[in-house]
Structure formats: structure tokens, C-alpha cells
Symmetry: C2
Subunit: 167 residues, 2 copies
């Protein structure tokens, strides 16, 4: 748990104390993609269970994720973003826009296509709908995975299940 | 240097390979605040010279920072953001907005106040000017440090200079 009133009032530094770690951000990415269970997050982030456990614990301690019991025997929890967690979305969105623009070859295509639920138009890489001109948050958007990204994610799932055997 | 065409087409993951490190982001924060020299960045990030050297080298290798010779004897370089580097600003901006909102006590105040150069109005934590309704980028904004943050930064400078002696 990161405490308030530390050595700096810089909000960027404060944020980075909590989310300035690659695995934490990948974990948040999966939660934004709708994952709720440890295994799903583990498969798609390719984090080790130890790495993921420490990140989820920290996210919970920082009030960004809440655990909900979904199975008594064995005891299993779902992870859901709180309001504080959901409000990190602009960071993920900005990383996405920059990554699509600067870190990809032209033939790779956009990994996830987001459309504005209200009007159905593609919002591109922006957080403002080009059609309606209104600010859009994650909750206002429908997501559709590109074939390439869907295949990649399915493959990670298959590899994991093949490795661990049927559950 | 991070190569294109890796194991994932996820743009968030690609971005994090480059900027998903606390020290890299703090270094970018300083470059956005106008720092150009190694020592200035070192003072305000409180990174060790080794840590900062590795981050600046990676930023240069990834085409986000360009080095410019400003002194022949001794050989000294300035670091300036390229277009690719400048375009990371929305990530910093989103971290700032989230940090100000969720990681600070009410009495701490906003660390840096940004106003829209064109109209002079405070833009708050947003990337859209509330007065003009237009999207604003870093280059469109004037920055004013809060007294608290200015003092904190001056103190870091004084401590560093006291430690290393007059240069």
C-alpha cells in the first residue's frame, strides 16, 4: 500500500509508485479486457503465478481491485476493478495509442478495434468519438479483436492448457 | 532497441517494453518539464548515474531522445525529445491526472498548474481546454509549479549541489 504524503507531491511519481511496473499494467490491461480470474490473467500476461500474485495483492491493497469469492471449495476469488482502478483507463488508452502509432509495422494492423456503443462508429486511437465529438470512456466502447490478436490470444490459451492438462 | 514484429501485436505491451519502467517515465517527465542535461534529470529523478545512463541510452536507441553536443571539452550532450518521444505526453498526462485525483491528500494541491497559452485558462487535469473546448498538447500549455512542488525541486537541487560541491 502506497501511503499519501510522501517525499514528492509530483502526481506522476505517485502514480508510478503504484502502476509504474510492466506486469501491473499488463494485469490491468487484462482486467479492462474483461478477465476476472487469476488463470485468465496469468495466461494472457504470461506472468508467473508469483509475479501475478504480488501484483494483484498490491492492486488490492491500493484499492484498485476488489476480490470477490466465487467458489467455496476450493476457495477461489474473482478480481474486479474498483472505480479507482477503472480510472486508470486513460493511461492504458494512451499507451495503446502510442504503441499502435510508434511501435508497430504498417502491416500488423490495430490489435483491438473500439467502436462507440451509442453511434457504432470506430473511435480509432482517440478518446473522443470522431463521429459524435464526445469524450468516450472504456464503458462507452465495444471492443473487437483483430483476427491476428484473437489468434495470438487463443494460442496462448491453448499452450497453457496443453501444458497444465485439462482442469 | 525494441524490435517490431515480436510475440504480440498488443500495442500496450509494445509500449510497456519501451516506457513500462518507472525510471524511464520519470526521465521523460523531466524532459517534458524542460530539462535537457544529464545532471538536471539526475537531480530531479534522484536516479543514480548508472540508472539514468541506461534509460537515456534506451530512449535514444528507441528514437525517443536525440543527443546534441553542447560542449567539446569536456564532451557533453544535451538530450531532447524527438517527435516519437514528445508523443508519449498523453501517457504522462494520464498518469498525472490519475495521480492528482487518486494518490494525493486534499491539502496537497496540484503540483503543476497548466494553462492554455491561447486563452490563458487553467486546463485542470484534462487534455481538453474547458474554456475553448479544444484538445491541447504539451506545446499548447504554460506550466506553473505550485509553491510546494517548486520548493521540493529547489531542495533536491540544493542537496545535490551541497553533496557534490560547486561545479
Amino acid at each position: 500500500m502506497v501511503k499519501l504524503g510522501e517525499s514528492t507531491v509530483c502526481p506522476v511519481s505517485r502514480s508510478l509508485d503504484i502502476v509504474g511496473d510492466r506486469w501491473t499494467m499488463l494485469c490491468l490491461r487484462e482486467l479492462f479486457m474483461g478477465a476476472t480470474r487469476f488463470e485468465e490473467i496469468q495466461i494472457q500476461t504470461e506472468a508467473t503465478p508469483q509475479m501475478l500474485t504480488s501484483r494483484l495483492k498490491a492492486l488490492e491493497a491500493n484499492g484498485m481491485v476488489a476480490r470477490h469469492l466465487y467458489s467455496e471449495k476450493p476457495r477461489r476469488y474473482e478480481y474486479r476493478l474498483t472505480e479507482k482502478g477503472r480510472e486508470v483507463y486513460p493511461v492504458v488508452q494512451a499507451l495503446r495509442a502510442w504503441g499502435e502509432t510508434w511501435c508497430k509495422a504498417p502491416d500488423e494492423g490495430v490489435a483491438v478495434l473500439y467502436s462507440h456503443q451509442e453511434c457504432g462508429h470506430d473511435v480509432g486511437l482517440d478518446n473522443v468519438c470522431t463521429h459524435c465529438g464526445v469524450r468516450v470512456e472504456r464503458k462507452d466502447l465495444d471492443a473487437r479483436l483483430s483476427d491476428k490478436f484473437a489468434k495470438e490470444r487463443a494460442q496462448r490459451h491453448a499452450v497453457f492448457k496443453g501444458k497444465t492438462g485439462p482442469v
